[in-house]
Subunit: 468 residues, 2 copies
């Protein structure tokens, strides 16, 4: 919608007129509206389009613009649907807090997304503008994605790969409309309903949601500051016969953990032994601060690692583009699933995303972003240390967007969160990141949101709510 | 990718240089390349971006641009994946001919999409350009879609609705990234794997694909020039206990059928009797020629009709936006599925789609499109009548993009199609539109493709290939 305030004002005034008019009344001419509201014809047209969008008026070209009837609501009996739909299975959880939009006056530490000030706004707007003039507007890209974009994703992985690992090629890459779709596709196509999937605990809530959607049977494996213990992983593979393990080796959400190199090698060896897939989600790839972890996929010789990478969080929310990289028959299974599920992803978004990430300014942006994220992380840690010493951040993250904060064990988490919310601080419950019962009380605190200057205030509110 | 021919030429010349250079070689400076190739610095930058996209070079800001190693292919053993993946179920079909891109010199009557000359190109490019400057680039829209766009879809249906039917509201609308995703969501959330779904035969191949993806059990119901026979539908509901029927009441793909009003009413009554959903796909809504059918959803009082409408085909392939309209608990089931499956649809695409369809020029475009489609349809029918009398179009369609042509019963369809292809005519096999065995030999002939002036030639090729 246009943010133009005068068209919004004219629309609001016209809406009052429409409220009072009979349905089917003809609106005054554009010329008359221009004179009455003292605005330009363009503004009047924008106001009319807003009202069309709201379903209040209808334009009959060459005849005029008319008010529409607002039909009175009738009570409708949908009870028959209860039997037709059957029991809801699997019961999907409600939207987690991380997706909600709180009042603007609050301090928001709950989001999973970076604030708009951390996005490469000019690059993205210019890229979409160029894509609007490109061929991709009018043509269908191949179902697996634009070859040049697939090639870019492949090259990103190949350039950090071990010298004796075969290069990843564009053919190994399938583009999806965002990482959520990629997760569901991988779980559905490589695991399947009713079959076991090992998953780190805690882990990304979107992956837990995707796993429920795919109907897979989640097997939690505890994960500490150096990743999952190989003994636990080996036992879980053996006991369940699982053929896949969902992992985040670099800046895991929510903990920020980076697996040490030898731990990665051990888990890859276990996957080989158990002839299983590692589903590696590299969601925080672009949010490196102090180090740049090399994905496990870069060391994979035999198609054990299925690699996921999204551009939505780092480029812009409007840019729903992610990639699955897989080799061997697994790639074909995944491609068949995405093709049946969405046919293809808008070429406009693919073209614009490729434009952004191949600009030299993108690298400059990522370097500046690393500095900003580092400053914000340190600011939030300092604020907690100074004002909320009850809250412990055991391992300050070396990248990603979040602190994983441990609370005193006696904390009533839902109560704390609602007290904070009433005091103007929005925080995310750590419980949403556990595939089973949470073994302790945690908050995920995002340091990439708006208003970092309010972190001391946020820490004070948190301390007060904990003390009560 | 830029279509600029000079940047493409420079990229090709540089690629030959890279082929000969050692990996890690530094490329000459932009200034040197400008001088060597006699082009502008912008062209050189574009050429370099093409090569980055192809994975041939890498730019290290402030240092220079370097050639990348093309690693030699190594034979990799993916055999372990065979056991890990298990049997492929359900076996998804290959990409149908309707999605393939034939040689440009051929006459293409196989596509399911309108030619670019029939798209509102200027409107779409301007709308994406405006969206690039809008709020939607940097913000996440609500998971169910932009309220204004949902309101527009709701109004479209409400304005043709019966006066005593409650108005459809924005809350009843869920936006999805294209109609394929919408189909899978509806089949998965309202029917579910292993449960029966009635489906017209023939019907849209994408719906057959979506049904296989969702794992539902397809129950074909024959559909003639006036839609399915209520006796067949009643029996199929009774015998299978099905709770849903996938239908196209207006310009069905592939036949172009429009259900008469009394047939629509009978089928709606049957859905009420059997307490079942009608899943109405109004994919051809914007391709009306001689009449504008009113969707069955507009008569629905009790949430029996779940309505699907897409803008991708009529607005532009780059605009992946569709809507599901449903009322009652069904809407919540559908919303939960889309949220788990894709989180949200790019706000940029939603904003641009709304912009296009609320412009007065959109209505003008649809009127002109109706004339063009009518002319093309008549041209193709005339060409067949004059040059290929063996091919019968029993019911000339009053809208949509295709003729449904019956061939002599003895025709070897795969053989005919490959003979036509060799002779430069690409046609789609009718078999792809049947959920079970095809009862006759058909072709779907698209009259919305490129080069309508070649229809007589196309008809002659078809006649010759049939005669042999």
């Amino acid at each position: 919608m246009s943010n133009d305030s005068s068209s919004g004002r004219v629309a609001a005034e016209l809406e009052r007129w429409i409220d009072a008019a009979n349905p089917g009344s003809k609106l005054p001419s554009t010329r008359a509206l221009v004179a009455r509201h003292g605005v330009s014809p363009v503004t009047v047209q924008q106001a009319l389009r807003i009202l069309v969008g709201r379903g209040r008026i209808e334009t009959v070209p060459g005849v005029g613009t008319f008010t529409l009837a607002v039909r009175t609501a009738r009570v409708t009996d949908f009870e028959w649907q209860t039997a037709a739909l059957g029991a809801a299975h699997p019961l999907l959880p409600d939207a987690p807090l991380a997706l909600q939009s709180p009042p603007e006056s609050s301090i928001a530490l709950h989001s999973g997304y970076p604030d708009r000030s951390l996005l490469p706004e000019r690059l993205v707007r210019a890229a979409i503008g160029r894509a609007a003039r490109s061929e991709t507007v009018l043509s269908r890209p191949p179902s697996a994605g634009l070859p040049a974009l697939r090639s870019w994703f492949a090259t990103e992985l190949t350039t950090v790969g071990a010298a004796d690992v075969a290069a990843v090629t564009a053919r190994d890459v399938v583009i999806t409309p965002g990482s959520q779709g990629a997760l569901v596709t991988v779980f559905r196509a490589l695991v399947g309903a009713g079959r076991p999937l090992l998953i780190e605990s805690p882990t990304y809530w979107g992956a837990i949601l995707a796993a429920r959607q795919a109907g897979v049977d989640l097997i939690p494996v505890p994960s500490s500051a150096s990743g999952p213990d190989p003994v636990d992983v080996d036992r879980a593979f053996t006991e369940t016969g699982a053929r896949a393990f969902y992992i985040q080796t670099g800046f895991a959400s929510p903990t920020g953990t980076v697996w040490p190199a030898d731990r990665k090698q051990r888990i890859l060896d276990l996957a080989r032994t158990h002839r299983a897939f590692l589903i590696e989600d590299d969601a925080a790839h672009d949010f490196a601060i102090d180090e740049t972890p090399i994905p496990l996929a870069a060391q994979d010789r035999d198609g054990h690692v299925v690699y996921l990478r999204s551009l939505t969080k780092s480029v812009a929310p409007g840019m729903r583009v992610a990639a699955i990289i897989a080799r061997g028959p697994a790639r074909d299974r995944l491609f068949a699933d995405t093709q049946a599920e969405e046919m293809y992803v808008s070429g406009v978004l693919q073209e614009a995303a490729l434009d952004v990430v191949t600009q030299p300014a993108w690298r400059t942006h990522l370097r500046r972003l690393a500095e900003q994220l580092g400053d914000r992380r340190d600011l939030l840690i300092d604020a907690l240390t100074n004002h909320a010493p009850q809250v412990r951040v055991e391992t300050p993250p070396r990248g990603g967007l979040n602190l994983w904060a441990r609370l005193p064990d006696r904390t009533d988490l839902p109560d704390l969160i609602s007290r904070c919310s009433r005091a103007g601080l929005i925080v995310g419950s750590g419980d949403e990141w556990f595939p089973a019962e949470a073994p302790g009380r945690h908050l995920r605190l995002n340091y990439a949101g708006p208003s970092p200057e309010r972190y001391p205030e946020a820490a004070r509110i948190l301390a007060e709510c904990l003390a009560r």
